[in-house]
């Protein structure tokens, strides 16, 4: 019995740890993918150089959280890993290829000899960032709407992931990342470009809120279990603060985005907004890792596997957060126009 108790606790701990890794990924790569999504609206070379420089020191580390998400899922919930990835084969492959384009654009853009090839890598950066965000959103939607399982493998068809709901979540994530990119740039830039960024922050902020509303309104109707969790009294009292907090943050964002002096506030609020969305998703899905049939307990690897990793993770994750924070600290502050690149 003791062993069973231990394994259940570890499974919950791993679910939380992985959720945390994915959240960190969404926040960190969210703003740097968002910059790629905003790129088309900033056409001059100076603007684009500045925007890219604002994330160039950190994008490598940001993307590593995605590897931790994939690797952690493989290790802690191998059954989920082996069902989700074939089920979402096209969007996952599209995301991986898109990330290749945008990752190399960071380096290649500066090496391109001709204006033509430089523009080519700009397009790769824009396309890669947008497609990666879209594919991540579609993945989220496809997971939330449920995946057909037969035995220990994916039991559905090649196009099951493609539905109006997954399209909506795909677009929602693109808009959300663009919003986060805009609040990041608001924090890192000054002058005319900052004023321009703020206008985009407002537009994408509104679009993000509308998306959140639509996804939130649609989700309870995907599965009865979701509906009961959000709308049956008194159980619904538990998640009730989430939408209220979202509304509060939306209001604070609206009032702080143009305020000078504390430019980090809107960015932090955006991170909190994404955090609340994440909590909302967790409330709907819990305890499933693949709705509607596979729970975290079904998919868990043996206690011996989870424990072995957990011992390391509990020590290493804080260390990683520490030196990641240090790297951000080294490159903190505002980028000056005409400074910070060659």
């Amino acid at each position: 019995m003791d062993g069973l108790g231990l394994s259940i606790d570890l499974t919950v701990a791993w679910a939380l740890l992985l959720a945390f890794a994915v959240y960190v990924y969404v926040v960190l790569d969210g703003f740097d993918l968002g910059i790629g999504i905003l790129y088309p609206f900033f056409r001059s070379k100076d603007e684009r150089d500045l925007m890219m420089n604002s994330v160039a020191p950190v994008w490598d580390g940001n993307e590593t959280w995605l590897v931790l998400g994939g690797g952690g899922l493989f290790a802690a919930f191998p059954l989920a890993y082996s069902i989700i990835l074939p089920a979402l084969y096209p969007p996952i492959v599209a995301m991986l290829l898109a990330l290749i384009f945008r990752g190399v654009a960071f380096e290649f853009r500066w090496k391109a000899a001709s204006a033509f090839s430089k523009r080519g890598w700009d397009v790769a950066f824009i396309g890669g960032s947008t497609v990666a965000a879209l594919a991540q959103g579609i993945t989220l939607g496809a997971l939330l709407q449920g995946i057909e399982v037969s035995g220990r493998s994916y039991g559905g068809g090649w196009w099951d992931w493609l539905t109006p709901f997954s399209m909506l979540t795909g677009v929602a994530v693109v808009l959300g990342y663009a919003f986060m990119g805009a609040t990041w740039l608001n924090m890192k830039l000054t002058g005319d470009i900052q004023a321009k960024v703020r206008r985009f922050a407002r537009v994408f902020g509104i679009a993000t809120m509308v998306s959140i509303l639509l996804v939130s309104a649609w989700t309870p109707f995907l599965e009865q279990e979701y509906f009961l969790r959000w709308f049956s009294f008194p159980a619904a009292l538990v998640p009730a603060p989430v939408p209220l907090l979202v509304a509060f943050i939306a209001w604070r964002l609206w009032t702080t985005i143009d305020r000078d002096g504390r430019d980090w506030v809107p960015f932090v609020l955006t991170c909190a907004l994404f955090g609340l969305c994440f909590v909302g998703l967790g409330i709907s899905m819990w305890p499933h890792v693949i709705p509607p049939s596979v729970t975290i307990y079904d998919a868990a690897s043996p206690a011996k596997s989870q424990l072995f990793m957990f011992v390391g993770a509990i020590v290493l994750v804080p260390v990683i957060l520490g030196y990641t924070a240090y790297a951000y600290w080294v490159f903190r502050g505002k980028l000056q126009p005409g400074e910070g690149y060659h």
Binding site: A75, G103, G333
Partner: protein, 480 residues
């Protein structure tokens, strides 16, 4: 799945896709593992000796490192998801054992590399020499830690140990130390890390040789890089022959079929084992055509007597044989290049002794030709070991045909084409940029060129932190 895509089934396509993406990926870390250590040495040497030539060399190679590393990162993310997309049954079954090792790779290596890379590339003037050196060393250590974990994973698939099989057919850990330090791991790790260092040495040597051949023999940086690379070749290539031999003996102990395919031994021998140098393997007929061999010495090479008796592939059921021709030829390519590396190393020692290291044109031509030899040898060696353990993914336990995802051939085929087109396009361009950088001389550049290596990862004026030489940077003009 029964469907075909241009005559190929889903399993074959998944294997081609994995082989293609991992071979492409492997090229980059094979180079950056050695290059990261080389950069740490250059930086340390510069700090210790204050000799600007080492700083210039650091700044020269760090640009090349940044591009190669970026390509390694993005092609590596693909690998971490491909286990699930194309090999879901394998993932479900091996996840409890292999997943934690990969998770540890992410936690102990990937974050370390990525976290300190920005500081290594662009932080010299922001954090001071000590912390910058630390960051550079962390990146180098990270690459080696990463290789350690992933080679442990790979070795476990060759020589599984420390596991049991549970009631749903998953491999589950019994003893982590036996899993991690499985029988082939120490040999594979030593052989692969050494190969990575040699790969870097020959690329650096080839670049140095090119500049020497272009009449830049007076240039200190060029001379130093060539000299350092030739020392590596002279010292490490012979060592690699010994390590490779030991690795082969270990393989013969645990995967004898693979060694039989490498050596081309279709027949059994009663009285002495020949060493087959060349021949055309005919697997269907079970014989080596046009065989060119030396009698008797194959025995001692495998730690057997001169007149040893040995079972050949004729004693192995056909279904358990790997494709012999691929293994036989890729092994010969790797070994041939290995001995050529030893030859270059010895030749360089001779010319160095004669005082003609920077003047011996034929040595420079040979070193230039051998520039990519490490990459070719690494890929050939990897093909030898991976094709050689077929038909299994987990040797002796899980067949390759039983490891794949339930996907249609058309799905795997379409994604394979996308990977091939995009990899050649993107990484082809990347290799082009690398070669362009390598063709420049490591001059003591004017300041602006010092920071030519890409996006400056700087957040600008930071109170209390020293700014790099300010002139020309505050004026707002793009100094390109």
């Amino acid at each position: 799945m029964d469907t075909l895509f241009f005559g190929l089934d889903a399993v074959t396509l998944a294997r081609i896709q994995f082989g293609f993406t991992v071979a492409f990926h492997f090229i980059f870390p094979a180079f950056t593992i050695g290059l990261a250590s080389f950069l740490a040495v250059l930086n340390g040497w510069y700090l210790w000796s204050k000799d600007e030539a080492y700083l210039n060399l650091f700044n020269y190679w760090v640009k090349i490192f940044a591009i190669t590393f970026a390509m390694g990162v993005v092609s590596g993310i693909v690998m971490s998801y491909q286990f699930g997309t194309n090999w879901s049954v394998f993932s479900d079954k091996t996840g409890p054992v292999l997943g934690p090792l990969m998770a540890y790779e992410v936690l102990t290596a990937f974050f370390l590399e990525a976290g300190f890379l920005g500081i290594m590339l662009f932080g010299r003037n922001k954090v001071g020499p000590g912390l910058h050196m630390t960051a550079t060393a962390m990146v180098a250590v990270g690459t080696a830690i990463s290789a350690t974990w992933i080679l442990s994973v790979n070795s476990w698939m060759h020589t599984p140990a420390g596991y049991a099989i549970n009631d749903v057919g998953q491999f589950v850990p019994e003893n982590w130390l036996e899993v991690i330090f499985n029988p082939s791991f120490p040999y594979r790790l030593a052989h692969t890390l050494t190969a990575a260092y040699l790969t870097t040495a020959f690329i650096v040597g080839g670049v140095g040789a090119w500049h020497l051949l272009s009449g830049r023999g007076h240039h200190r940086g060029v001379r130093k890089m060539f000299s350092m690379a030739m020392w590596m070749a002279a010292l490490v290539a012979p060592l690699q022959v010994v390590i490779g031999h030991e690795h082969g003996l270990n393989t013969y102990e645990y995967q004898p079929t693979k060694v039989l395919a490498m050596e081309g031994h279709f027949e059994s021998y009663d009285n002495g084992v020949p060493l087959i140098l060349f021949g055309i393997p005919d697997q269907e007929a079970g014989e080596m055509r046009y065989e060119l061999s030396i009698p008797k010495i194959g025995g001692p090479i495998l730690n057997k007597g001169w007149n040893a008796q040995m079972d050949g592939l004729d004693t192995v059921p056909d279904a358990e044989e790997p494709p012999v021709a691929i293994v036989f030829w890729s092994f010969r390519i790797m070994v041939g290049l290995g001995f050529a590396m030893v030859g270059i190393g010895l030749w360089s020692l001779w010319t160095r002794y004669k005082g003609r290291l920077y003047d011996e044109v034929w040595l420079h031509r040979a070193a230039l030709a051998m520039g990519p030899s490490g990459l070719v040898a690494v890929i050939a060696g990897w093909i030898t070991t991976e094709v050689g353990r077929q038909p299994y993914t987990v040797y002796g336990e899980l067949l390759t045909v039983n490891s794949t995802s339930p996907l249609d051939a058309s799905a795997v085929g379409a994604s394979l084409i996308a990977f091939i087109v995009i990899y050649f396009l993107v990484f082809g361009a990347g290799v082009g940029y690398l070669i362009k950088l390598m063709l420049k001389t490591p001059e003591r550049a004017p300041y602006e060129d010092d920071i030519d290596y890409g996006p400056i990862r700087s957040a600008g004026l930071v109170p209390g932190v020293q700014q790099p030489a300010p002139q020309g940077r505050q004026s707002g003009q793009p100094a390109e």
